[in-house]
């Protein structure tokens, strides 16, 4: 359970992930929904796929989650809900898109985490997500729409004045998202692109000065420049041919934290300058490569931008 607690909280009250302990949530999902969600995760929406856990481990997790409400799992008829998907789409644009996104791609950011800005107390999950659609039965979705989830921004749409037929239409619209073939924005970054690297025609010192200029001209604040071995070896004994420039842009930082509070792994921004065999090389991580670990499409998008900025800084400084 420690795997889950890091994101969902020890008591299931949420964090980077959504709350799992709320009675209204547990009343609206069956065990098969929980099992499939654990197995498949939510591709591109932070929730990882736990494909290597044994069935017994998954059952134990489900039992643990169920234990928070102390009530048996709800039972939903396996029959598909019949509705008019086209009408459902219109209703979706009107009633749902403001929280769940135009295409059902979910709200910006995830979960409830306390450490960042967010529009809602709980970010609306992605509904066009293959992990969600595989886990949720029609009747389960219908139940959530009819009853809402008390204690979350998700309201009952019967109470809000929709008819049962409207709700059936909405279920069909959500189900039809399966066909719209979610591809995600996940860029294909291969291992040979894990670093961005350029050779500088200048000396180590000149290259560092150039970098400082290009970092500032890209609207970053230079935090500090020191040796890669700083703090690891006695002062004065560092390898002087490996220098790191640390820099930051607060606006970008705030935006990134709202997308995924785990972005500390990309921070602060750094460029490393190395002198080897008379050559000066300028290197950075490729944020797009690191990003693929986080299962977060929004983060991938932001990292694509950062990749462009890093490239420009390196090019500028080695022109």
């Amino acid at each position: 359970m420690a795997h889950c607690a890091a994101c969902h909280g020890d008591q299931g009250d949420g964090g980077v992930g959504v709350p799992l302990a709320l009675p209204a949530f547990l009343e609206s999902v069956d065990d098969s929904f929980l099992r499939t969600t654990i197995r498949l995760g939510r591709p591109g929406r932070v929730m990882p796929a736990f494909s290597t856990l044994s069935d017994a481990q998954v059952d134990a997790l489900v039992g643990h989650i169920r234990g928070w409400s102390g009530k048996p799992e709800p039972v939903f008829a396996p029959t598909p809900v019949k509705g008019d998907a086209q009408h459902g789409k219109e209703l979706f644009a009107k009633y749902c898109a403001s929280c769940h996104g135009e295409m059902g791609e979910g709200g910006s950011g995830t979960g409830v985490t306390f450490s960042r800005r967010r529009k809602l107390p709980i970010i609306a999950p992605a509904l066009n997500n293959p992990g969600f659609l595989a886990a949720a039965s029609d009747e389960m979705i219908k139940h959530t729409l009819e009853f809402g989830r008390e204690g979350t921004p998700m309201r009952s749409f019967l109470v809000q004045g929709l008819s049962e037929q409207d709700i059936n239409d909405l279920v069909s619209a959500i189900r039809s998202m399966e066909d719209s073939e979610y591809t995600g924005s996940r860029p294909e970054v291969t291992l040979d692109e894990a670093v961005i690297i350029t050779e500088s025609p200048y000396t180590l010192e000149e290259t560092i000065e150039n970098l400082k200029e290009s970092i500032i001209s890209q609207n970053f604040l230079l935090i500090r420049t020191d040796y890669l071995e700083h703090g690891l070896v006695e002062e004065g004994k560092e390898d002087k041919r490996q220098v790191i420039l640390h820099f930051c842009n607060f606006k970008l930082l705030f935006d990134a934290l709202a997308i995924d509070p785990r972005v500390g792994m990309f921070l602060p921004c750094r460029v490393t300058v190395v002198e080897r065999e008379g050559k000066v090389l300028v290197m950075t991580i490729n944020p797009m490569y690191l990003s693929h670990l986080f299962n977060n499409d929004e983060l991938d998008e932001a990292c694509k931008q950062m990749h462009g900025i890093y490239n420009e800084i390196l090019e500028d400084a080695t022109l």
């Binding site: 964090g15 990882p48 961005i196 607060f250 490393t272 950075t284």
Partner: protein
Amino acid sequence: MNRSFLFGVVAGLLLYFPGASAEDVVMARCALAFPEAMLVLQESIRDHGYTVARVQRIDIGLTGMGYKTDKYRIVFAGKAEEIRYLTENAPQLIPYLPPKISIFAEGEQTILVTSHPKLYAEIAGAAIDPVIFERWTNDLYSIFHDVRMAE
């Protein structure tokens, strides 16, 4: 352009191709508040034989921008001889060094995040004996265990 150096970088990288999984990012939740969790983390890092090279604040002004926390730090740590060995033998790994752990407050609790050391193993490629990263992995899980269990 130093062809042989660059070639080494690229060849080293081409040998492995990683796929994403639940293990790629290692996280831990600590019941302690941020300052205490930070102490436990640094103590455990040292107990495992690593040096804390620096603690970087990245949270200056966060509350001013509407965040509920102003406690977000990056802890850089490593063993001097290992880091030197890696920068010399796996230059493509240099921009990823020294390794780091993110630590931030979430309400009254604290979250730790880092990349699984297999990230370094994949980038370092065949030039480096993987045993070093296996050791990092064991130590990392042990350090996170310390923080998770701390009361």
